[in-house]
């Protein structure tokens, strides 16, 4: 079952073409990710899907409704969490949530019940009477996710949901997102330029310069790249190399290491080690990362392109904390 269907979508700003004809569909209940550098057209596409922008041409359907023609109906069906917070700092968490409930015309008792459920799930219930001003970045993001879910949307849009947060907070937010998805059977559409975050998606579309250049599961994208890399050190390197060649693999030697590519390295490795006749000192299995996929598809690393000033600070903050994660 498809919940979002996009056909040949174009969006032009005055002179630039931000989205150059993309087509894709999102299945009900999946986490669908848009991965790409800043300025690739991710946010523009999300803005079209959530009625904030009108497409220049092409079609976009959500829940079988043409988005630009059914704005009000679409808005009731979607929840949004933007890159930058959209909370009212001067109100409490509870007031922010309740305001959302009124704005979406929810019955009072449902607002009360959902508010309690969601704030408890997000670990914010004890601090619901506090002004949002006193919240940390991670708490604000959790509150926004709770608010985005209040009106029981069919699709939750997350635009860079963990941008600028520390790794611990990011992990926590992902735990929450996964919990919600299983509980409410909701579809999640997200954009990110963090590779490790994209791993959480069921399917990823890689977008660059306004076009989708690949669309697959994270595993599928990596397999397309030619599989995993295995690297060994052996007592007798030339002999070991010969034996590997006899397995119809193409090993390369560098710094006394032999490395070669195989599909599905995890399954290949136990058999390989058991049956190998030469003495092996060490074995290393390296799975390709989405970074590798992105580089091979676009010819450049995703981060090289994030050079506007606020972004620089954010990515610096993240890179600093991310080392241990990768």
């Amino acid at each position: 079952m498809e919940i979002i269907r996009v056909k040949n979508l174009h969006k032009n700003y005055k002179k630039t073409e931000a989205v150059k004809g993309i087509s894709f569909s999102v299945k009900k209940g999946e986490i669908f990710g848009f991965l790409g550098p800043n300025g690739a057209g991710k946010t523009t596409t999300i803005n079209v899907l959530c009625t904030l922008l009108k497409q220049s041409s092409g079609e976009a359907y959500l829940d079988n409704l043409e988005i630009s023609k059914n704005q009000s109906e679409i808005r009731k069906r979607i929840g949004l969490v933007f890159q930058d917070t959209t909370l009212d700092d001067y109100l409490t968490a509870e007031e922010n949530i309740k305001f959302h409930g009124y704005a979406y015309n929810m019955p009072k008792n449902l607002i009360i019940q959902r508010t309690e459920n969601l704030l408890k799930m997000m670990d914010l219930w004890d601090r619901r009477k506090e002004n949002v001003r006193s919240y940390s970045g991670g708490m604000k993001r959790r509150l926004e996710i709770a608010r985005g879910l209040l009106h029981l949307p069919k699709v939750l849009f997350l635009d860079e949901p963990t941008l600028g947060l520390d790794p611990q907070t990011r992990r926590k937010i992902w735990e929450h997102i996964n919990e919600i998805r299983l509980k409410d059977k909701i579809t999640i559409f997200m954009t990110t330029h963090y590779m490790d975050e994209a791993e959480n998606c069921n399917r990823i579309a890689i977008i660059d310069h306004g076009k989708i250049i690949a669309l697959n599961t994270p595993e599928g994208l990596k397999v397309d790249l030619g599989g995993d890399t295995i690297q060994i050190t052996a007592e007798n390197i030339p002999e070991a190399k010969k034996e590997i060649q006899s397995l119809k693999l193409s090993p390369t030697i560098r710094d006394n290491n032999i490395s070669f590519q195989v599909q599905n390295g995890g399954e290949f490795l136990p058999n390989f080690v058991q049956n190998f006749k030469q003495k092996i000192h060490s074995v290393e299995l390296r799975r390709p990362t989405l970074d590798d996929v992105f580089i091979s598809l676009t010819g450049k690393a995703i981060r090289e392109q994030n050079q506007n000033s606020t972004e620089q600070m954010r990515s610096w903050r993240n890179r600093r904390g991310m080392g241990g994660n990768r």
């Binding site: 009000s72 009731k76 007031e95 959302h100």
Partner: protein, 272 residues
């Protein structure tokens, strides 16, 4: 559609009032600034100037003007809070909700008008201290007038706000819009005794009609008592030799208000 429109007004106005109550500093400044004006200007100039009309001394003359100023200050600020909302992101929360754009703008205006009325009513507490009698009928007449002034002047704020992207513009707006609106409206002095150029400019200022109408509500009997006394300056604005009555002031104010609001909602709905 219609239901969505009214819900938008209600929801947005509700938040404006909630925030007004929340922000102590706004509440206190709304309260203190007019008192300061009344005390400093009133007490200082009152002896120097004496009676403006028979039975109306300077501080009494100024009181309706200060009331109008309080209201206008509040409504301009609430209109400009849309810039604040835009900068801090909350506007997006409103724009993606199933709410009507016109309703959002009108909700801001209504919320601003209601909070301005609260400020105005607080100020009325001080009226007896300067010898102005407050009767329930007077209050009943003042409230709709305050609401009208507030909504019209917030229109000015919205038109400016629709073009502003950051709060830095706030200061400029205060200097170039708020002060001329206040000083060219006859809050502090009777316009009849000012140079021709100021009189002409003041006729294009919506607030002039608001201040005038408020004065007519407060002192409506002055001209009636002494219709033939040439020394008594009638309260009203001279347009082509005709002195406006209160109903004409209200009509002019409402017309300007409607034009401003239509312009503002049109500019706002154009925004993507």
């Amino acid at each position: 559609m219609i239901k969505e429109f009214f819900r938008s007004i209600y929801v947005v106005a509700y938040r404006e009032i909630l925030r007004f109550i929340r922000e102590r500093s706004r509440l206190i400044s709304a309260f203190l600034m007019p008192i300061m004006f009344l005390v400093v200007f009133g007490a200082g100039f009152n002896r120097l100037i004496g009676e403006i009309s028979p039975g109306v001394d300077f501080i009494q003359f100024m009181f309706p003007g200060i009331l109008a100023m309080t209201v206008v200050l509040g409504s301009l600020f609430s209109a400009l809070s849309i810039v604040w909302d835009r900068e801090f992101g909350f506007l997006k929360e409103l724009l993606i909700a199933p709410l009507s754009r016109t309703g959002i703008i009108l909700g801001k205006a209504v919320g601003g008008a209601l909070t301005a009325s609260i400020r105005g009513l607080i100020l009325l507490i001080f009226a007896p201290l300067i010898g102005i009698n407050i009767t329930p009928i007077l209050v009943l007449k003042l409230i709709p007038m305050i609401l009208l002034i507030s909504i019209t002047l917030s229109g000015v704020g919205f038109v400016i706000a629709s073009r502003m992207r950051s709060q830095q513009g706030f200061q400029g707006v205060m200097n170039f819009v708020f002060f001329p609106i206040i000083f060219l409206s006859g809050v502090f002095f009777p316009l009849n005794s000012t140079p021709q150029i100021i009189q002409t400019l003041s006729k294009f200022n919506p607030m002039t009609y608001g201040v005038n109408a408020l004065r007519q509500i407060f002192f409506n009997n002055i001209n009636v008592i002494n219709p033939n006394d040439k020394n008594v300056q009638p309260i009203g604005i001279e347009i082509f030799g005709h002195i406006t009555t209160i109903w004409e002031n209200i009509a002019i104010l409402a017309t300007i208000g409607i034009i401003l609001m239509i312009t503002a909602t049109w500019m706002f709905s154009k925004e993507e």
